[in-house]
């Protein structure tokens, strides 16, 4: 049976097809990225400004594309950072049209449930990866990934495969660079979170501590943030009564007063008087303004953008801004990006997701982010929305760096055009391979490396080896 949704999709496709089939300026209107074959440019890597531009590109984007260095150099690094912090000012037509094809992403909540769980979450994964590769709003996408880990939802649990689509749109993307408090409140009342951490089972006389504990431990204060088991139980009481709506209202949350525990509560030393309608706002305000939250979020952001062991001075400075700005994520990031420590930070080992996207970007690959590519991502260990525990994918290099083989296999498949739906054209690189290599690792190849790469004959295998270099595993 053709549903309304499929009918609209077919109608849209057939009406657009004749319009654009002969148009080669913008084939991404019908869903192809259509990037040109990659080039290599002669870049002076000893130039301080070039180094700076590349450092910023590697941390604020998913990897440097051919031509990016020249572009950011002419724009100015600070202007680029500012632009990235204000993604709404960046035009992003290519991504808009690429994502528009995936109508699941914009479906109204009840319609999402017409899909199978696999279709729903696969479409979201596809959109997420497409945005990471092609969006000009790169920092926005990086922050979406950061918060998707921070407020992890595992798509295999209960209805999360469907509900995560709404969570991604209404919680994570909406507030990724907004106020932490709004983000947290949206997450607390997100049907996906209510379901994933069982808060929809938390009712008066039927306490369920799961969400309350992770809210304090993982989302706000941190495990040593100054709460105890009693606070967990009291917070769980305060959070009781929030339900996921059913039937036509699926995908929304509602507060049911008769399921809320009206007792007086004491959380983190603060009194919550009895018989209040929902304690949620007050609880969120309390924990958002707690210094442990500022410290915890700032530490995580510094680990993400600076290094695994950021200095206490930097964390304090960032946390101070977080508190003063009432948890303004944009302002908090600005402190990090303006710090000496950020500019001077040593290379970070890329997580597998970043590695994959950076390889695709480096060679201007044209990918549909389809199931074949996602299969590689799964093997690499970081398929979005597939991490079971509420801590999100690890950010520590020690977790990832022992897993090199899947990266090499991905690089070989990619460069040899063995991934269905993902194509690259590397022929032009053959005569300029050394220059291309310097674009990837910011230095000429050593004579040993050159020898190793020339042991293989075709340009695909050579590029695969370049993408496998230890230096390209770092950002």
């Amino acid at each position: 049976m053709i549903t309304r949704r499929i009918f609209l999709k077919l109608a849209a496709m057939t009406s657009l097809a004749p319009l654009f089939s002969a148009c080669d300026q913008a084939p991404w209107l019908i869903g192809q990225a259509n990037l040109p074959a990659p080039t290599a440019s002669l870049i002076n890597w000893d130039n301080k400004n070039i180094k700076l531009a590349s450092h910023v590109l590697k941390r604020l984007t998913y990897g440097i594309r051919p031509g990016d260095i020249e572009q950011i150099s002419s724009k100015g690094v600070l202007a680029f950072i500012d632009e990235q912090l204000n993604p709404e000012t960046i035009t992003d037509d290519r991504t808009y049209y690429l994502i528009r094809r995936l109508d699941t992403i914009s479906l109204k909540a009840p319609d999402i449930f017409e899909l199978t769980a696999k279709q729903a979450i696969d479409d979201l994964r596809q959109a997420t990866i497409l945005r990471a590769i092609y969006s000009e709003r790169q920092l926005q996408e990086i922050m979406v990934e950061f918060w998707s880990d921070h407020f992890n939802i595992y798509s295999e649990k209960a209805d999360c495969a469907w509900l995560k689509i709404i969570d991604d749109r209404e919680v994570i993307r909406k507030h990724a660079l907004g106020k932490f408090k709004d983000l947290l409140k949206a997450s607390a009342t997100s049907p996906a979170m209510l379901s994933y951490l069982d808060n929809s089972s938390n009712k008066i006389g039927k306490l369920n501590e799961n969400y309350a504990r992770e809210l304090l431990e993982l989302h706000t204060l941190g495990v040593n943030g100054g709460y105890d088991q009693k606070d967990v139980i009291e917070a769980a009481k305060a959070l009781s009564g929030w339900q996921s709506s059913q039937r036509f209202w699926k995908g929304k949350a509602k507060f049911e007063n008769n399921l809320h525990n009206p007792e007086e509560k004491e959380i983190l030393g603060k009194n919550f008087p009895a018989n209040k309608t929902s304690d949620l706002d007050e609880l969120i305000n309390l924990i958002c303004s707690h210094p442990s939250t500022a410290n915890f979020i700032s530490t995580k952001l510094c680990c993400k953008f600076v290094s695994e062991n950021p200095s206490q001075e930097l964390i304090l400075q960032v946390a101070k801004r977080f508190q003063e700005s009432d948890g303004d994520i944009r302002e908090t990031l600005r402190i990090i990006f303006n710090s000496e420590e950020f500019f001077n930070s040593p290379p970070k080992f890329k997580r597998p997701y970043t590695y994959m996207i950076s390889a695709l970007r480096a060679i201007n690959a044209n990918s549909d982010a389809g199931s074949a590519l996602r299969q590689h991502l799964d093997t690499l260990g970081q398929l979005p929305f597939n991490w079971p525990t509420p801590d999100g994918y690890p950010d520590r290099s020690q977790h990832w760096q022992t897993q090199l083989l899947p990266r090499w296999n991905f690089a070989i498949s990619l460069a040899n055009n063995q991934i269905r739906g993902t194509k690259c054209n590397l022929e032009n690189l053959a005569p300029i391979l050394n220059t291309f290599a310097t674009n990837l690792i910011e230095r000429p190849l050593t004579s040993e490396e050159l020898l190793a790469i020339n042991q293989v004959n075709n340009v695909s295998d050579k590029v695969a080896l370049l993408l496998s270099l230890p230096d390209f595993q770092q950002q």
Binding site: Q229, L405, L465
Partner: protein, 377 residues
């Protein structure tokens, strides 16, 4: 002691020990678990009696022959003595070999154990099958991260290219850096595993589950005598805040998956006469709250259960001092109390290898109180 390979199976999420090794003679058990408790041995779907007081979950039935042959032992009311009830802090401290201390060692306890006990350096000495950000192997020079043995090879579109590509990668990773060392080790492991995969002789009695195929890989490596010393495997899904089930249901399915994997593994290694050289340790970060919650599940607790299996243990017993389940006996806010520290339990096989005097090198500042006696001397 002649255990050569240590196989650690981590039940991630906090496995409910009270419904794995069930104190069916304890009346409080039925009082505090009205809907999820398991019936006594003589009842339909009841537990399998172990010693007249404890019975094991019926989904573990495949493990009964091992228990009867004294090749399987349980240790009850064991755990990590931290108070936070946090999955992440619990695992971190367990894997670092500490509890309630701010001073964190830079290496995992298993890394330190291997440093003291292993002289040779086979490229396949330690394998981590776990996708958890485990601290067990932190600082370990020899660990390989593998999800599936048969996937651990370089895949080139043209087979003839394969050895060339591997050789090139070998020289690209010839630097002394940490990443260089990891790359070298990975390539050595690929070459070793290639040899094992060539002489494949598949045992089909393993369950078709992730744990089943991974533990089969472990058996293949043990049978190939590549010098495997320690592996870590995961079985996820034990964080049963809602609908954990009883004799049937979510947790029963997990237990069945666990039991069928261990049972096939033991049989396979017995056939090759290697079972006596293996010790399987099954552990979790904490047990769950003694009383069930209103969602037919359980909250995070403290004392839990550990399994020990192998050809060289004093099995057929449930070890541990039983703390009881009355209100006064429970530990705040209503957990099975811990009567054996997890480090005590792990020391059972560590002491015979490194000596009592060296135990603080594995577990910093930890005092051993008593030997439990699980391992045959």
């Amino acid at each position: 002691m002649s255990n050569q390979t240590l196989v650690i199976i981590n039940l991630r999420g906090g496995a409910d020990g009270l419904n794995i090794v069930v104190p069916y003679k304890e009346e409080n058990y039925y009082r505090i678990r009205p809907t999820i408790s398991l019936l006594p041995p003589n009842k339909p779907n009841g537990v399998i009696d172990l010693d007249g007081f404890f019975g094991m979950h019926p989904a573990l039935a495949q493990l009964l022959p091992l228990y009867e042959h004294k090749e399987l032992a349980f240790l009850h009311a064991v755990g990590w003595p931290g108070k936070s009830h946090s999955h992440f802090e619990a695992w971190e401290e367990i894997e670092l070999g500490i509890a309630n201390t701010l001073e964190k060692p830079l290496t995992g306890w298993l890394t330190r154990f291997l440093e003291l006990t292993t002289k040779d350096s086979s490229p396949l000495q330690t394998i981590n099958f776990s996708s958890w950000p485990s601290k067990l192997f932190i600082g370990c020079q020899g660990v390989n991260q593998i999800t599936q043995l048969s996937d651990f090879c370089l895949i080139t579109p043209n087979k003839l290219n394969n050895s060339n590509m591997l050789a090139s990668l070998k020289s690209l990773y010839s630097q002394k850096s940490l990443l260089g060392q990891i790359g070298q080790r990975t390539i050595n492991a690929i070459e070793e595993i290639n040899k094992i995969l060539e002489r494949k002789n598949k045992d089909s009695s393993y369950p078709k589950t992730k744990l089943g195929s991974q533990i089969q890989s472990v058996a293949e490596l043990i049978n190939a005598q590549v010098g495997l010393k320690a592996v870590s495997l995961d079985l996820n899904g034990w964080d049963t805040h809602i609908m954990q089930g009883g004799a049937k249901g979510h947790m029963a399915n997990l237990l069945l998956e666990l039991a069928s994997a261990i049972s096939a593994f033991a049989k396979d290694l017995k056939d090759s006469d290697k079972w006596k050289n293996v010790l399987v340790v099954v552990m979790t970060e904490f047990g769950r709250r003694a009383m069930e919650n209103a969602s037919s599940g359980t909250e995070h607790g403290q004392g839990g259960v550990m399994f020990f299996a192998g050809g060289n243990i004093n099995g057929g017993r449930v070890y541990g001092d039983w703390p009881g389940l009355s209100d006064e006996q429970l530990s705040q806010p209503g957990d099975l109390a811990i009567t054996t520290d997890f480090r005590q339990a792990l020391s059972e096989f560590i002491i015979p290898k490194v000596g009592l005097a060296n135990i603080t090198k594995i577990f910093p500042a930890y005092q051993i109180n008593k030997q439990v006696g699980i391992l045959a001397s």
